[in-house]
Amino acid sequence: MDVGATHGEEGLGVKRAGRAQRGGAPDEHSEATAFKRKLSLVYLGIAALLGLLFVWFQFDTAFMLEWLPYLLKGVPLTLLICFGGIALATVLALLGALGRLSSNAIPQGIANFYVSFIRGTPLLVQLFFIFFALPQLAFKPSSPAFLESIFVLQLTVAAILALGINYGAYMTEIFRAGIQSIGHGQVEAAHALGMTASQSTRRIILPQAVRVVVPPTGNEFIAMLKDSSLVGVVGGQELFFRAQTTGNAQAHTFETFAVAAMIYWFLTSVFSFFQKRLENKVARGHVREQLYVH
């Protein structure tokens, strides 16, 4: 299991770095290696147990391989929905955060309502609302004709809207905290140099907030990758939908779900990797690679 191995490796890397920071004494190093060995044993144990289950329940690996390409064809739609969703969520979260921090009642009121309402209702309900309920509004006698082209949405568009709007509300709070984490001295320094409020927000505050916000936003993206499976419930031909339909039809549900789970796991591992690289990139100016010399 390739994915499992990389995952384990990554976890160990963090542990080891943590230990090394406390001081690289030789006995600590060997202690770390011993711990690494123990962890590998645990992973091996888990893999063996899973393998045993495979054999015991006579899982049809040939079936899994046969249907893997079909399931993989759902991945592009899953990714499309997620990239679209996270892009929309980022825009909404930025506006929402600026709104919540605004001293003007109108943007603040709208942002407060948005966060409260969206966080207070289930994602599945929101998805159903956008995909099933909105179109009905277009056909009310009082509705003007052009509403049909707005409210009757393609499933992909509805999915992106639902995920984007939903995650945007959660991310508003992340962005708000990120902006607030930048010290007041930074705004003062910007103002003292003659910057306007919008200049200091754009040039000084937001670029610094990005560093704070990237790690949790990456987590949100990974969560969204999995929540996108809800789109299968309304009939989107994404990964999970394909797993469910083929599995049900052929009485091999466990196999197809296992494959789908593996694919989700693989995707999140890949994105975790890129997330880490992005984090390192935006952390520049905050990591002291070497101590200063007078």
Partner: protein, 260 residues
């Protein structure tokens, strides 16, 4: 808000005029009517106990604190207490562009290199070209002795280097006056000298400077005038020789004994 009318100043030589400045936070009166005029090229050192209003006055001059009474004038741009209209904000911005500010905690922008810190305001605020701003930046960094640090991020600088970079950043806007808010208080003792050195050079070039500091050596050598703040008022001022050796007021003497 008490309506304090300021006498109109007619072509004064004073580049900083502070008239009847008042500031209270709720019921706490921090400034109780400060009047201070500074002619071009003068260096004024402001000292006094913490909480006496020194920093607040400095921060009122460029409106980082909004005064609750009185009047500020910097290089002919005059601002009274009032409601923040668009026009008023613009005037405040004009004042800020004329008044360079150096903070106790440096407040460098950590996501920008030293050079980017210095050219940020000239490019963003004044619309200078990057090439021009970089040229000026190189000169300024040489002046503060940081030519070799242009591409470093602030986190890799020592406290003294950070403060010198912050001075360069303020100077890049070609201010008419410089406000120093306890510029060496956050520094290790061995790093204070290099910052005072830069400030000394600046004073020699004729920069008008308002310095909140307890560095009496610097004051004696560089200041034209010293002001002693006590409970929101200037209770004594004069040339350093007179202030340090023979302060008239008992409270000034007691404070000086404590810091000298």
């Amino acid at each position: 808000m008490p309506a304090v009318t300021c006498e109109s100043s007619y072509m004064s030589t004073d580049v900083i005029r502070v008239e009847n400045l008042e500031k209270h936070f709720g019921h706490l009166e921090v400034l109780k009517g400060i009047t201070l005029n500074v002619p071009t090229g003068e260096v004024v050192v402001i000292f006094g106990r913490s909480g006496s209003g020194k920093s607040t006055m400095l921060r009122c001059i460029n409106f980082l604190e909004e005064p609750t009474g009185g009047c500020i004038e910097v290089d002919g741009t005059r601002m009274e207490v009032g409601v923040n209209t668009r026009a008023r904000k613009e005037t405040i911005r004009q004042i800020r562009m004329k008044a360079g500010m150096v903070f106790q905690d440096f407040n460098l922008f950590p996501h920008l290199t030293v050079m980017e810190n210095v050219i940020e305001a000239p490019v963003t605020v004044k619309g200078e070209s990057k090439a021009d701003a970089k040229k000026v930046c190189a000169e300024l960094l040489e002046k503060v002795g940081l030519s070799d640090k242009a591409d470093e991020y602030p986190i890799r600088l020592s406290g003294g280097q950070k403060q010198r970079a912050a001075i360069a950043r303020a100077l890049a806007m070609r201010p008419k006056i410089m406000l120093f808010d306890e510029p060496t208080s956050a520094l290790d003792p061995e790093l204070i000298g290099e910052v005072l050195e830069v400030m000394r050079d600046l004073a020699k070039e004729g920069m008008t400077m308002l310095v909140v500091s307890h560095e009496m050596g610097f004051a004696r050598e560089v200041a034209n005038r010293m002001c002693f703040f006590h409970e929101g008022k200037i209770i004594e001022e004069g040339p350093p020789s007179q202030m340090i050796k023979g302060a008239r007021d008992e409270r000034t003497r007691r404070f000086l004994e404590a810091v000298l």
